[in-house]
Symmetry: C2
């Protein structure tokens, strides 16, 4: 991984992915006790940053290989990202999802032109199904985070942060990034290190699922004890990636973990003060900015809201915290 | 009113107001049966386009006059726009609001540094209170729409639409604009006429409060029979302005009126597909794009969502339509 790969991805994404802005509100500054800037990747195509990495990976494939199609395992934001990236290139996408995934997610992915293949979590092995389909059709697997071209794509969000912060005259800031497997955090960290070295990435996770925070503290990879049971499900992964963790270890400050209530309260503040829709896992960065001020340094914080794919029931639960 | 005033306002606003993007979703295109682009002025500072006009008017004042301060009558988006514009210039703002305005609106306006003066709707005359304060302190009144520099400021949103549509290769489109007194609609119409003559503005209002639609049809100003009783309260005004109506009459197509249910359903689609928060009056434009396809022409429609200042209860009501 290097900055040239991120810059090359940015060229491939230009005119296809959105350059999301930096938003702000004096009301958020007051809660946080410092200047808060928010990069709303919920406004990215498909509603999350995942589209960046997916389009980077799909567009980097050899055209002959790409023409045979791509495959991904995901019931969430990565699925929609890969589906749209493949659709934009006019190539087939197969998305493997559990049969009990929410109907809306199945429908949304299919509506973006993907072939959705479901499996029974209790009786079937998704990897076996995926490997068979990939072999039969010559499909290329697009991994969700531990994949150089995916990290490069996520890093394009970091290039935008570096450029837009510079335009605002900001030389030093903590950059809070919602962290699952670390694809977004590592890409943003690489971009900032190259173009805005005064910006330091801090990973943010849900309490109890803070494998990256504990791994950074230990200096080696730690696993989560469980993979379910948190509303921030979009960013719960077993452990940091083999590619992403060394980057995080080199470039990031200590990890931060926030509670479910803090994530919901941050969603409510994003609604009230920025007029954007964040999902629980996408709001942990803003939650850290607003409610973990004592763990942060400096007078400016940039929180990257990673996605906004949340169902109305969960969103109403967040509004009820107001 | 002329295009030079709008371009001058754009220069004054540069670096202070946000250039809002054009958002889209294939799911919205499918509902509408044509390409739908959304300009989210809910993402503007203070959560609505009103900040543009307010900043334009305040920044156009002679510095000595401005230093004495400004005054506005508003319980809504105009109040916050004027408060922030005055704060940015470091001059006093007095906002006259009914004492029974929602507590959150009173608090938000005061938090932006304005002096909020309340009056009793039943027993006091707000114009008398405003005139007395203005005379005592030398304050300049900032009218909400029938004011050249306010129209010029709102027109800057039209300059952005013209430029961004051109960048997307769009030469012809209907531009749907939420319409109260007509400040935004007339400003956008002037900007489009000058810079993108293939873009035609259509005003959108709530059913039963469609004074502009009826005025356009009659060729002369018509009044609304009532001023309360609709969830789109932000865009309910007695009648089109004396300055705005001649512009609308010259440049706009027929007006459109949408139901409360359509406004709520459009808010829900903006949540689901664009991840933005629209208020009922701000969503009528998207409602027209999605649910009044037979009243529109061409293969592309641009809907300007004018604001996102909505309380959680009303937003939950919109989500319940999904």
């Amino acid at each position: 991984m290097n900055i040239e790969m991120i810059e090359a991805a940015a060229l491939r994404l230009q005119g296809h992915a959105r350059h999301t802005p930096l938003l702000s509100s004096p009301f958020l500054d007051e809660i946080a006790g410092r200047r808060v800037l928010v990069k709303p990747e919920c406004l990215q195509l498909t509603g999350s940053f995942k589209f960046r990495g997916a389009l980077s990976a799909v567009s980097a494939l050899d055209p002959k290989v790409r023409a045979r199609g791509v495959i991904a395992f995901s019931s969430g934001n990565h699925a929609q990202g890969v589906a749209l990236a493949a659709q934009m290139h006019g190539v087939p996408a197969v998305i493997i999802m559990p049969a009990d995934a929410p109907a809306l997610k199945l429908a949304n992915t299919a509506a973006l032109g993907a072939e959705v293949v479901t499996y029974d979590r209790a009786t079937e092995d998704r990897d076996e199904i995926g490997a068979r389909l990939a072999a039969e059709r010559g499909l290329t697997l697009i991994r969700p985070f531990d994949e150089p071209q995916v990290i490069a794509g996520q890093g394009t969000a970091g290039l935008e942060i570096a450029r837009d912060a510079k335009a605002l005259g900001i030389e030093r800031a903590e950059v809070l990034v919602c962290c699952g497997g670390g694809g977004l955090s590592s890409g943003v960290a690489l971009a900032c290190a190259a173009h805005a070295p005064g910006l330091r990435v801090r990973t943010v996770e849900p309490e109890g699922f803070d494998d990256v925070k504990r791994s950074l503290a230990a200096g080696e990879i730690r696993r989560n004890p469980a993979l379910t049971g948190n509303i921030c499900d979009a960013i719960v992964t077993p452990q940091p990636g083999d590619l992403t963790f060394p980057i995080l270890k080199e470039l990031c400050g200590p990890g931060i973990a926030v509670s479910e209530h803090e994530a919901l309260a941050a969603m409510a503040q994003a609604f009230l003060r920025l007029k954007i829709v964040a999902e629980p896992g996408g709001a942990v960065s803003l939650a850290a900015a607003l409610y973990h001020a004592d763990e942060l340094e400096g007078d400016t914080v940039i929180a990257l809201i990673s996605g906004g794919n949340v169902d109305p029931e969960m969103f109403s639960r967040a509004l009820a915290t107001l």
